[in-house]
Amino acid sequence: MVPMENYLVLSGIIFSLGVYGVLARRNAVLVLMSVELMLNAVSLNFVAFSAYLDPDKATGIIFAVFVIAVAAAEVGLALAIVIRLFRNRSTANVDEAATMRW
């Protein structure tokens, strides 16, 4: 069987790729997709811990359910903000959306 550390290493790699995407990419939708990668890595971590270390209580699985629900709320709201930004500024580039008001 696959040891638990494999899942932890995999989710660490996915999380780091997401961090790079959030920090480096210029397109706001790409930044959001990188956030999705990070959230996915986190819930994979939770589920792996739950399945290996605490299968009776299933707490990590419940936590993954909540992570997925919050991610759905987050992506809906953030995409609305991106669409609004695009309508006001004709750009989806996060570097050009630096002013607080205009």
Partner: protein, 167 residues
Amino acid sequence: MTTEVLWWIFAVAIVAVSAGVVFARTVIHSAIFLILSLAGVGAMYLFLTIEFIALVQFLIYGGAVTVLILLALMLTRMGIAGRPEPTTGVQAPFGALVAAGLMATLIGVAVSTAWPGDLGQNAVAVSIENIGEQLFQNFGAPFMIMAALLLVAFIGAIVIARQEDED
């Protein structure tokens, strides 16, 4: 043995498509890589024998979230298609540095820590009945707060994205 080989194939594929999400030059390619990556993580839940989360992953992430992202990509089309544009900002090297450091730390911690109660290196199947009982008995209040949060978030999304009359 077969499970392990399949696991490694899936793990390498997930890392490859996740790298594709952040490094692809075209946003549509990134979106397609994201769908593959989410489906791959769903397969990981199947390896962990947590079918419930795998199904939720395929339905919510593979279905709803990717459709939302593709919609936003369509609505925020910039410039002429195929025009070469830098996809990363000036902060990209620092981002790479931070991500590499974080990756080294996470892998080091995951490998070197002696996890408590690691029973025979086997994932234990958690039944859907168990998950449902936990969710509605011990976590009933957070579950209802989550429902309210989703409702508020989507009403807020509609209000923010609404076309105003004076535009």
